[in-house]
Amino acid sequence: MEDLKLVISPSPHVRDTDTTEGIMVAVLISLIPVLAAAVYFFGFSAIRLVLLGGATAVATEAVFQKLRNKPITVWDGSALVTGVLLALTVPPTLPSWMIIVGSVVAIVIGKQVFGGLGHNIFNPALVGRAFLTASFVGSMTAWTGPFDTITRATPLVVGAARVRLPDLFFGSVAGSLGETSALAILLGGIYLFYRGILDHRITLGVLSAVIVMSFLTGANPVYGILSGSVLFGAVFMATDMVTSPYTPRGRWIFGVGVGLIIMLIRTWGSMPEGVTYAILLMNAATPLINRWTRPRIYGQGVQRS
């Protein structure tokens, strides 16, 4: 009993078991069905792009932190998540050097210049994607169909209604690596929701806005959700914790805003798809949304009953 070393640290003295790494690992686990579908439909190209995207992101972050004499924190997994997510948003035929460039941009411009994890305003993977789309329009829209190397139009370009619904659901259509299989995305989303990482408000906000806008514009809402990258964006991109609001009401507003902008771009814009820009635009509005949607404080605005 003598000479116990007493540690003086403030309460609480117990903590939840979840950690930042744990959350990043869970996101990677949730991407397994999507990765599997990408490999199934697009073969070796999928493996090539995901490995290059992920490895480049991790290496870029390590080099950047080393250059700035900051602690190297790549083991938290957040850079890997960014690289893998970016790879899943590009067409299977994208040249290797382009995914490397995109991944470097995602980490440097999207994340590190703001101060690293937790400080960035825009979803880093989508910053990388936006850069690639602006720089290499041809390669970024060279969609090939599954199981072949022939360039095809995506369902959004040909008109979704001319694609069979089961193909859209299971993913046997042309598109970016991770976006074609609704089933795989849903499996990942359910896992994230179960783990308490995915906030249903954002995902449901995006989807409900797309559905309502589809009705209003006379489009088929089922195709509206299943075609393009709406589902992938709603489950994996819009829900990025760092760049979406942290208030409950703010998350609804954010999700609905993303859905509305997607439909504005799709219906009246000059591009066939607008998920990337919809999310980036709403990212910019996030600090303002947080400020406007503070929860009611217990005991404020009440009188004696």
Binding site: M1, V7, S9, V14, T20, G299
Partner: protein, 443 residues
Amino acid sequence: MSLLIGKTFPRGGKEIPHRKKATEGKQIVTLAPPQLVVIPLQQHIGARCEPLVSVGDHVKMGQMIGDSSQFVSAPVHASVSGKVVAIEERELLNGNKCLAVVIENDGKDEKYALPTRPVEKMSADAIREVVRSAGIVGMGGAGFPTHIKLKPPKTVDTVIINGAECEPYLTCDHRLMVERAESMVRGTRAIMKAAGAVRGIIGIEANKPDAIDAVREVIKDDAALSVTVLQVRYPQGAEKQLIKAAVNREVPSGKLPAEVGCIVCNVHTAIAIDEALTLGKTSYERVVTVTGGAVVDPRNILVRVGTPLKDLLDFCGGTLGEPAVLVGGGPMTGPPIASLEAPVVKNLSGVLALTAEEAGFDENRPCIRCARCVNACPIGLLPNTLGDLSAHGRYAEAAQIGLMDCIECSLCSFVCPSKRALVTWIKQGKAGWTAQRKSAPSA
């Protein structure tokens, strides 16, 4: 096991591992008083007492040895009979120093008791006077002088007895409800009489079915009393959350429970009130839960005020290896123990020795804005924002978004995956803002 039965509060909160198994079934055992007891002259919120005895005086067990003329204060009493050997500064559990009366135990336990009268014949004022004389303070942890609470500034209709015991590990209130239900109920009636309340509600979390049964058995013929089963959800035992769950009233920001017609008292406090009224016993002993993964034989111990903390650990077989941290009270809100020589005081509910596997510490990694703190906050605050503003000294901005409404339950720090010291920063912010307003009175 998820216990979703029972009433609760509407916002935030979380079911956290309660780790009460080691002691919840263990009967309270008595620890013999030590050779020397150290009675701090401040064991409560408010003014410190002045000693009423001098070195060399003989004192009886239960005799008042310190009192204050200040309004917010409570007297302190000798916990053994014997000779006063010193009146000097002694270290408290949290490392602060406080003037204390040191008494050498003569082993005779010569008793001093307050005069008693049947409670039915006592006026509200007379009850409050006994509660003051007995030095009773909030024994759940707050240590607020109870006689002040019993004279509410507004009309009160409901007394709520707090048997939630929502802090992990602690089981002293649980055991007291099982073993001393009659005394607690008598104490509840006395509180109701003193406060002029017409009903009493005993709120107990659903993970204490034996306590619920024991209390229900005692009150079954009394229409004025009832048990409210509460959901196992931290911080269910926080005053405002308990009131919301039990009577669905919301205490206005910055006000006391009396504002909505309620008084909340802890289980142990109610028992102390009953003992003062029926036995004339002053507040010189209490039940403390000694537990944690590093304790050899965890127990609930009836112990005299002034007993050194190391005696409690020794009585429980000592510790296994090196505990990661020692805590006075519950692990969510209790301070770390800075000295094992420090004495037991009236509001100490637990002594915990936690292993490295059980304990968690601040790491202050970057906030990933996951919003777990926002979702967990039972008050509806933004702990991430308040923490940042407070840590940067921007107290006024923090105060505008509810800084002073924080109840310091620590759940934000608990849920944070980046292990940020949210509640610590917020507490600093509250202190900083209070100091700032004091030094520069509002124009």
